[in-house]
Amino acid sequence: MQALADLILEGRPVQHHRPWPRTIVDPMVWTSATVALAEGHWTLLGLWGETAAIHMALLEEPTGTIGVISLEELEGGYPSVAQYHPPALRPERAIHDLVGLVSKDLPDPRPWLDHGRWGLRFPLGDRLPPPPETAPYAFLRSEGDSLHQIPVGPVHAGIIEPGHFRFTANGETIVRLEERLGYVHKGIEALMVGASLDRAVQLAGRTSGDSTVTYAYAFSRAVEAALQLEVPSRAGWLRALMAELERLANHLGDIGAICNDAAFPLMHTHCGVLRERALRAADTAFGHRLMRDRIKPGGVIADLDHEGAAALRAVATEIGQTFPALVELYDNTASLQDRTVGTGMLRPELAHQYGAGGYIGRASGRGFDVRRALGYPPYNSLLFEIPVLHEGDVNARVWIRIREVEQCLSLIAQILDQLPAGPVSIDIPDIGETREGMALVEGFRGDVFVWLRVAESGRIDRCHLRDPSWFQWPLLEAAIEDNIVADFPLCNKSFNCSYSGHDL
């Protein structure tokens, strides 16, 4: 078995790509990487295209090695990754829709993000006129006695993002779920092309609203990697503080909402109170409840003052005191456990195959967390545990969140105790040459991956943003099998994948 580091050496290295190498390889090397992915040696971090190149970011988990391989001679298409490694399927369909690159032997050539309504084709490629007529989307077939279909969405019966779910059920039991997404596709990657860094970080922070800190954080780190900037130490610590607050608020909201979907609103009410307190403290400390537009390339836009730090300390203390009673309530309510235990099982093999991040991976035995794996500052000097369970059911995903809430509280206290003094941003220098950078940042849902190229002018030439949901949505289809239709909201909420982050 070849090491990823050796595979990277087989290609022609690209200058100015940081912090990990990118090499241009031939189709043979590309295919051998595909096979290594399929055999489970490496994890697919991202797959994206440009008019004349396709890129694949790879991770070798045991060694923490990361690298990007690119294929440039694409006449007649590129060798499909998905034909051997199914997690690449939706990315390849999206690449065709956005760029027009053809994947040879793609097992499922249906469009994914392109619903035939944009008025053009290949917005990141040649921008061709649309075909005169679009065929209706062909859902996968399910055949058998007594099967019926339930179409749901895109508009759902709650305050939820839009997407279409096609259930095939036998009585109450789901035999197949097929997702159709792309409804909230906003063309963010095309808007990025030619954008100034100020505008681009604003767009990145609006890729998925619940992860606005994580996206701005990852985008900024990718720019800083490309331009070889080191942000002041205090800025790094403040970014982590915001990221932990975001994680805390989202997990509190999710724990309550999952219980609410199991008809137990008491948890929802109490978790909602704690979430609101966390958001108010964030508002006091950073001037925005969701901390939107607070992180930029070079640092952060506002410093934390004494009053803000006090508000954060107070809220961490209060949640630390109140939360254990809620955990006990969750653990001791038999009717609630009856709904969550054994429901929506995700097998560990699938979590590993897809490289599922966040609570979805960690509830199914995959403990990958970029805060630990890459140890970007200040996480290399903070103490925290990464909870891992193996059951893979809704209950396990709730418990991972519970344990992570506890870790967030500890991290917030540690950061406030050790926050270094000093400036909180530096100016972006004029580099005057093309640079490429990438970054991975751990959001509440998993690792957000950003790859970008900054042009000579200092503007964005190409930026790819990969939400953790890309490798989680397909797993929901697997986890829901053999569950009853009435448990779908519960399973879906326990996954809580992002529609906007996925659709872009």
């Binding site: 895109p154 305050i159 906003k186 095309a190 808007l191 505008r199 609006r206 609203g209 906007s500």
Partner: protein, 177 residues
Amino acid sequence: MRKLLFESMIRVPLTERAPSRSDAAMEELASAVDNAARRHLGRSLSIRAVDAGSCNGCELEMHALSNAFYDIERFGIRFVASPRHADVLMVTGPVTRNMREALERTYNATPGPKWVVALGGCARDGGCFAGSYAVVGGVSAVIPVDLHIPGCPPSPADILKGLLALLEHVTMGTHAS
């Protein structure tokens, strides 16, 4: 569980005083509602949320309206599951081309009298996504809008102020002077 419930009984409620209605919203609404509609509704509004392309930030703050601090149901305002049951469509996001038809169909499925609230900066004019090949623009580019609530996302207090203005306008017949 008993201890938790008991504590909630003896504790001071967390629910905060109602914010005053937004004057800007009253002005925008002045021409939108007729008296017959007011009589139909009584002091109650049923809202159907429609995400037409948002980043989900507005949805988070819409959810917050139901927490103990804002407790939106005390004003007779509630979120319903079907456009058939709704008086108000609360639409978020720049309207994407892929959601345009779903938004139109939801609007057509809502019986009159009905109002449309466009929530957030993107719902006004497409926000930072305006001009994209995948975006139509603000909500008013697709269906008529009665009230805009600005913000990115608007805070729950701001949403509440706007909705209270709508409620007052609809039920009391007061026009902004």
